[in-house]
């Protein structure tokens, strides 16, 4: 009887690859220099598969799967960059732009924003959906940081880093559908939060200009995310498991 191997061999874009069964398609892609766009995923944080930007095709499977949240399997044939996938990815980015108020030209994160970077990289030259222009607020109550809901894409990286790494769980999501938004504590102004340690981790993991340092003018906000790798390594945590 065949021995069950924990190392899986399969193909990705026609290339023979292998990975441990505890690894995701995304991890193996990165090990093999195959680029799959991601937004909600961040090494060191738990996986939620929320943004769907990393969707890939597996031949014979009838639906697309998120590469960040799908473990490798023996014999699978993964396609990471078909025209259909490119179109869906562009669509997702367009919907994110249409849903919030993203004005790159005057944004603090202009030039250092994952959303903007992906829009350029995926070739978004227009948005096919009508802009919702939602009426959103800016929370300036914190001494050092600003939460600009206009630019939030609900990736929940801040929620996860605050809970999983800092252990404070100041952030959470309230509401449903397009009414979903981030809150601090039980929906009180951030500056009044008693759980927030002002560590700034949420600000650094935020992919856009939603959580930023106070006082930074257009284009000056640069996020530093190296800390996440060091911290998880030192603590020996792997939130992916």
């Amino acid at each position: 009887m065949p021995v069950r191997s924990r190392v899986k061999t399969f193909t990705m874009d026609g290339q023979d690859v292998s990975g441990h069964e505890s690894e995701t398609i995304l991890e193996i892609a990165r090990q093999n220099d195959i680029d799959i766009p991601t937004l909600c995923q961040l090494d060191g944080l738990s996986i939620i598969g929320a943004c769907r930007l990393c969707l890939v095709e597996v031949v014979g499977w009838n639906k697309l799967v998120p590469a960040c949240a799908t473990y490798v399997e023996e014999g699978m044939e993964v396609v990471t960059n078909s025209e259909r996938l490119q179109n869906y990815r562009r669509m997702i980015i367009e919907m994110l732009f249409a849903e919030g108020n993203h004005v790159c030209s005057v944004c603090v994160s202009n030039g250092n924003c994952s959303l903007q970077y992906l829009a350029t990289k995926l070739g978004m030259d227009y948005v096919r959906y009508p802009y919702l222009n939602p009426d959103r607020t800016v929370d300036m109550s914190h001494e050092r940081f600003v939460m600009d809901h206009n630019r939030c894409i609900l990736c929940t990286r801040c929620v996860r880093v605050c809970d999983e790494i800092e252990g404070a769980h100041t952030w959470d999501v309230e509401g449903r559908g397009y009414k979903s938004h981030l809150i601090t504590d039980l929906d009180i102004p951030w500056g009044d939060s008693r759980t927030c340690t002002s560590c700034g981790k949420c600000m650094n993991v935020c992919p856009t200009g939603a959580i930023v340092e106070k006082g930074k003018p257009a284009g000056e906000m640069i996020k530093r995310r190296e800390f996440l790798g060091y911290l998880t390594k030192m603590r020996g945590v792997n939130n992916n498991e």
């Binding site: 005057v106 603090v108 300036m140 500056g191 006082g215 257009a218």
Partner: protein
Amino acid sequence: MTQTITIDPVTRIEGHSKITIQLGEDGSVADARFHVTQYRGFEKFIEGRPFYELPGIMGRICGICTISHELAAAQACEAIMSVRVEGTAADLRRIVNYASLLQSHALSFFYLSSPDFLLGMESDVAKRSIFGLLETHPEIVRDGVRLRSFGQKIIERMAGRRIHPTWIVAGGVSEPLDAGVRETILAELPEIKALVRRSLDWFKRAMADYHEEARVFANFPTLFMTLVDEREDVLELYRGRLRVVDSTRREILADFHRTEYQDYIGEAVEPDSYLKSPYYKPMGYPDGIYRVGPLARLNVIGKMGTPEADQELAEYRGLNHLSSFYFHYARLIECLHAVERIEDLLDKPSILNPRVRAHASANVSEGIGVTEAPRGTLIHHYEVDEQGVVTGGNLVVATTHNNLAMNRGVLQVARRYIDGENLSEGMLNRVEAVIRTFDPCLSCSTHASAQIPLRVQLLDPAGAVIEEALRG
């Protein structure tokens, strides 16, 4: 029968506008008005933003005078922070501001207005543009392009890019000056000064042919307003006190700090234009009509403050200071002044000092910033809540101050040149040319080409088109 002539759009200006000319029963001009037909709404959509984002947002009002909006916004923010930017940061801002003045004046004078002086007000409209000039006066076109690019390159070298740089920030500037950039600019200055001098020479000769225009191009008594240096009676574009003089330019009517502007400047709203009509409050509306911009600046100040520009100022003093035609001349004198000032500032040993930025949060709830934009006094006024979120804003832009004077100027020129019986394109061009002397900046774009169609309609009192002429 009464008729209305509409000039829509007005060409070779920055932005969108139209002119209507009302003819009386006998075909003579009964009234004429200048309407601004675009709406921007910046005062509204800054509400809710953190105050320190405003220099970046406000710079977007205009692609030509970005620097002026950023400076006025930054000064207003600094008032909110209770910070006063001095020394190197203020000097660096001044240099970039002079560079901005140069590129803007070059655009107005060479690109938009010089075809009128060099080819004639009545010349073939298809050729009466910078492109037509290329055939007849290529050296002058080259000078105009060079001057504009020199100004823009200083902005690019010092502030990072030509249009909408983000280098001016609340609290100072984001980068100190690079020693290499200083050398490059200094090396180019003599050539630019020579360029401005020869432009002054030919323009002074050309002015001799425009006596009639000088007589009727918005030539009437008004007050004049500008910023002046806080200590001396010299021109200061970046920051200073506001001063209003009477129409003889000899009597100072008011000299006040920027925070008091609302005591002196009222704003009337007309139903047919998106441009407000400010007036000097103590005299009421519309008697408190005043002008701002290069002409007003030269009329208010005692001295330019730099030797060569002061010599030119002495010559300018011999002219009729009430005629808006001399805006053009004043613009060139200011260019000379700007070149001299840039040189002085770059020569300062402190100019390379790396301490160019202060940090603070919102400390007071209101801030007012005033600067002299190329076109005149620019006021930004913001209110913020305790946390620094903008709750309201009011802008008085250079062109706005001149609204009453532009309207009166249009009427004056229309009365002199328009004959309802025999309309000619040259007549209408003069009506537009009076607007161009003010160099209104109605938005962010230049519509500077003879290709833009100009539609003139003659309407009967019921609004039916009697006659229509198209050009372009």
